[in-house]
């Protein structure tokens, strides 16, 4: 695992390597070489099983983190290839030609985060939500609680308690407040 990543570091400008477990490593590469690294891993290093593709919204840095998780059935190891793309006009090269199921992930990411994958089949079709007019629903700045409160009809009389506050009030009324109050809506 270590040897493999060291071998590839030069060619693919691998910057940030995290060995999460002996059989799982996350590497970060620039946006341009991510697909070629994935292809290299698939074709020459035996990482033939595409586990999943995911996206994390780092809104503070204005970046989306895309993850391609690959699995090698022979050595039983996983490599997660991470790449950061801009949050505005998010766009990424499509990898649908590598595995048959990738276009599904890309279609979901297009709907959930608004990341465009030009050339990916059926990428503009809706996936899970229908008739959606708001911003992509998995973006960090989309406030689901407010949306739900404004759109659907909350039943009057339903109370929502913050568990920390509620438990402190009920069980330990005398304990001093230590934790900072968190904004529960974000």
């Amino acid at each position: 695992m270590k040897n493999l990543i060291e071998k590839l570091t030069e060619d693919f400008k691998i910057s940030d390597v995290v060995y999460q477990r002996p059989d799982l490593a996350f590497v970060t590469v620039p946006k341009g070489v991510a697909i070629s690294l994935v292809t290299e891993l698939r074709d020459y290093e035996g990482f033939s099983h595409f586990v999943m593709m995911s996206c994390v919204d780092w809104i503070e840095e204005g970046k989306f983190q895309l993850l391609y998780l690959l699995h090698n059935p022979k050595t039983k190891t996983d490599v997660g290839v991470k790449t950061f793309i801009d949050r505005e006009n998010a766009e990424m090269a499509s990898a649908h030609h590598l595995w048959k199921q990738v276009w599904t992930y890309q279609r979901e990411l297009k709907e959930a985060f608004g990341i465009d994958f030009p050339g990916s089949p059926r990428v503009d079709e809706n996936f899970v939500v229908e008739g959606w007019t708001e911003m992509p629903h998995m973006r960090r700045d989309f406030n689901t609680k407010e949306y739900s409160r404004d759109t659907y009809f909350p039943r009057p009389g339903r109370e929502t308690n913050d568990p920390a506050e509620y438990m402190r009030k009920k069980l330990y009324p005398n304990e001093p407040i230590t934790a900072k109050k968190q904004d529960n809506d974000k």
Partner: protein, 240 residues
């Protein structure tokens, strides 16, 4: 970065991403369903509106029950022969198989499953409803012959339950379609479901299973609520 800076930045991002993601003013009606003019084989021009041509758009009417003893007799028959539509809308449908198998056999109470809405008169809303499913549920419900009954299963149909803050699931079912019996719990046990059926039978025998008429009476109100959340309304107002 201090907290204030961070908040400012997030706000700025928020505004930018709102501008970034354009709210498209697109029509949700599919091209083949749009109102248009077609040329007939003989050269004449015909206006077609597929949504209303294929389905009658007429509003439902209240239907008067029969009088006295006859209605009581018919209600008894209705109560003893409840045909449930086999449409598992949520995770509660996992408790339907135990109901039709040896442990909690519901056939002995005259409750049976039917595959099509035309032939069923009870509808189990098994748990949370996403907006996408709600659209289908409304269509299905309106196709069922009156008198029809709805059993709402689980806390999520009562007040949203665990998903009260989800952008995709509705909170209160009774705002969109009238509900006869609520069965609370997450998830309710099969025994609770059987108790719900017993309660429904009682209601029908007492002549209180007239929710279909209530739907017709408050039709406009229900429709307004439905149209508020179903943005892509591409079906007639009432599906016959």
């Amino acid at each position: 970065m201090s907290e204030k800076d961070m908040n400012d930045k997030v706000n700025e991002m928020l505004q930018r991403s709102e501008a970034n993601v354009k709210k498209t003013e697109k029509s949700f009606v599919r091209p083949e369903d749009e109102e248009r003019e077609v040329v007939a084989p003989d050269g004449s021009i015909i206006k077609v509106n597929p949504i209303y041509d294929y389905f009658s758009g007429e509003k439902p009417k209240e239907e008067k029950p029969c009088s006295g003893v006859i209605e009581k007799f018919l209600n008894w028959a209705r109560a003893e022969s409840i045909w449930v539509l086999g449409f598992g809308t949520g995770c509660g449908s996992i408790e339907i198989p135990p109901l039709v198998t040896p442990r909690f056999d519901m056939f002995r109470y005259g409750v049976q499953m039917r595959p099509t809405p035309r032939q069923s008169n009870a509808f189990i809303i098994s748990g949370y409803l996403s907006v996408k499913t709600l659209k289908r549920v409304i269509r299905t419900y309106e196709q069922m012959p009156s008198p029809k009954y709805i059993l709402a299963l689980g806390s999520c149909t009562i007040n949203g339950g665990m998903y009260y803050d989800s952008y995709s699931t509705i909170n209160r079912l009774d705002k969109y379609i009238p509900v006869d019996v609520y069965i609370a719990g997450c998830m309710p046990r099969p025994e609770a479901l059987l108790a719900g059926f017993m309660k429904l039978k009682e209601l029908i025998k007492e002549g209180k299973g007239e929710k279909a008429n209530e739907y017709a009476r408050n039709f406009d109100e229900y429709k307004a609520n439905q149209k508020k959340i179903i943005k892509d309304w591409n079906m007639p107002d009432y599906n016959w």
